[in-house]
Subunit: 365 residues, 2 copies
């Protein structure tokens, strides 16, 4: 049987086995209308997501928290987070989006004014362009530095966390600056503050992250339990997603422009980048016709899997044509190029429209 | 020549020699109308106080910052700080009094609501009763946790301080909680924030402290210099005062009631405590008549020196009578008892009147 997305999970088996992250498949049946990213195994694991499934099914309130760190430009890999938010927004979630200006300052020296500007012009604009409804009253977007409820809570939580724990998780040492030492507690507070009585009160909360963020999630869950008695926190749930591969094969990263298609790229640039991407093709055409390609090693295929092809049937066809050697990389890239062109033309228009809402959203919160 | 307060400085000679704290005497001549505590060597040293002398003389603006940590009750030793504030208020200073509720929480687990209550009912009430004018528009009293300008600045400053520095100064280790690790930076911001453009702008600032606080002052001065370019900070000055000796000979401490006369004690209790205090008397009356007492070792004498006797001439007389063996401890205590009785009767009345202003002061800031 052809399973065009089974490979997604392979690399994360160890994580699942050793750290108690649960595979997502077991919950799929209980989830009405699951998003593509879950069906295709891109979101591959979770902790305590059962609570969220239950809240969605029973139409109880729940929260989603996912921060954005305003540094550099957004690339197409970041779209994955927004896709999840759009889906959660349809499900009626209380959505909290902290803009991590405090982290940006302590870790990268970005000024608070610059963070604000970048957040509005780049991140918030793209979030809206990609489908997040800025007018939904359950949406809360804020700058960490301006949210006193968060900074107050962070300090209160900080009393039950010691330096050894921080060192073990974040690898801090003696030369790490004190703002950097402290900022993970701001992020813990970002996740827990929706459950304060001044906000929503205790409710299931899910944090979508990459697997590299799991230590932070574990700390947050521990802290939630240490303060359970005081605040009634429900231990937050989390989901784990794969990262999209960069154009050159490694990680896609805003700080390495050659690896990334940026959301602000023109359709022409996007096509050019896609065409230069590493594929799962063989060394010679002849060999590829005989043995087929390897979609699991192909950036173009991943782009289709994550973002460009909504139809499972069509995706299966692409997969089959590749492994059977029916379609070569050139042809496949040309088809993908048309899709990415259309996507970027559309996104460009939406970004134009989104700009004005983006400017307003931080002020009216 | 009889110098009834020279001894005050003796114990601190090392501090002055090794750490660059300057003795106060050199500045005395330049200071118009210096307060008793300076004349009598109780405030024995300083860093860069010349700036403050100049500001006072030229009627330029300057700030005084001195925090109160709401924990336990105020004792008579704490009066020293208020005496200084009253004097500075007369000189037109911008007075900033942070109430260290964040420190109280991280170091002693005191709840924020409890801190607020204790600050109002005990500390602020006494400050006003002891002569601080609550209506002066240059007076700023605030809870750390409610002053966003301070918490914001603390975080910004924290980027240029690393863990090694904090460890060296405060002796933190791996089991120290993160709020405790962070709170010294709040105190640095307490001292520096009056110089922000949103407050007074750069101006000379003095922080009256005990010598045990000097490492914190040195850190604050270093940080001020690291951010000098950005904020234009004038490196803060400091003064150093002796602590009053406890009734039993050691340190006077609110957490050891036997050592302290509390400002909320009734006159009767205050007298009783004074009469039980350790003196500089000899083992036998005969011996004392022959050899005289040692006022430098006498808690009662210290009480006169710090607080009860305003007249230098009278104080000299007490000193001489003691060392010459003319007046024995019993007689001396009886005289001091009358003074302390009058002081506490008066203070009790003033405390009653001060209560209402104390309740208002945190709200109208």
């Amino acid at each position: 049987m052809i399973d065009p997305w089974s490979s997604a999970i392979l690399n994360y088996k160890k994580l699942i086995r050793e750290f108690g992250i649960k595979p997502f498949q077991d919950l799929l049946a209980d989830l009405e209308d699951p998003p593509l990213l879950i069906c295709r195994g891109i979101i591959f694991g979770h902790r305590d997501y059962g609570r969220i499934v239950k809240a969605i099914r029973e139409k109880n309130s729940f929260a989603v928290v996912t921060g954005m760190m305003p540094s550099g430009k957004m690339h197409i890999g970041h779209k994955m987070i927004v896709d999840q938010l759009v889906w959660y927004q349809e499900k009626g979630a209380d959505i909290y989006i902290p803009i991590a200006d405090m982290e940006s300052y302590s870790a990268r020296g970005v000024d608070f004014e610059d963070s604000r500007k970048l957040a509005i012009e780049e991140y918030i604009t793209n979030y809206i362009a990609l489908g997040l409804n800025p007018k939904n009253e359950n949406l809360h977007m804020y700058l960490q530095s301006e949210n006193k409820m968060v900074t107050d809570l962070a300090y209160k939580l900080a009393r039950k966390v010691n330096l050894n724990e921080m060192k073990a998780i974040y690898g801090f040492n003696g030369s790490t600056n004190m703002a950097h030492h402290y900022v993970p507690l701001i992020q813990v507070a970002d996740i827990l503050h929706p459950q304060l009585m001044e906000c929503e009160g205790p409710e299931p909360t899910v944090v979508p992250v990459g697997p590299d963020q799991d230590p932070h999630i574990r700390l947050t869950r521990d802290i939630a339990e240490r303060f359970q008695k005081r605040y009634g926190f429900i231990t937050p749930s989390s989901t784990y997603h794969r990262f999209i591969t960069g154009l050159t094969g490694g990680k896609m990263s805003s700080s390495k422009p050659k690896t990334a298609i940026f959301l602000s790229d023109s359709p022409e640039v996007a096509i050019k980048k896609l065409k230069s991407a590493k594929t799962g093709g063989k060394d010679s055409l002849d060999e590829q016709q005989r043995l087929g390609g390897v979609p699991e090693d192909c950036v173009v295929y991943e782009m289709l899997l994550y973002h460009l092809l909504q139809s499972d049937a069509e995706l299966k066809e692409v997969y089959r044509d590749c492994i059977e050697g029916n379609v070569m990389c050139g042809e496949c890239k040309s088809k993908a190029a048309i899709m990415i062109k259309n996507f970027f033309i559309e996104l460009g228009k939406k970004r134009q429209r989104a700009k004005r809402s983006a400017e307003k959203i931080l002020n009216h919160n």
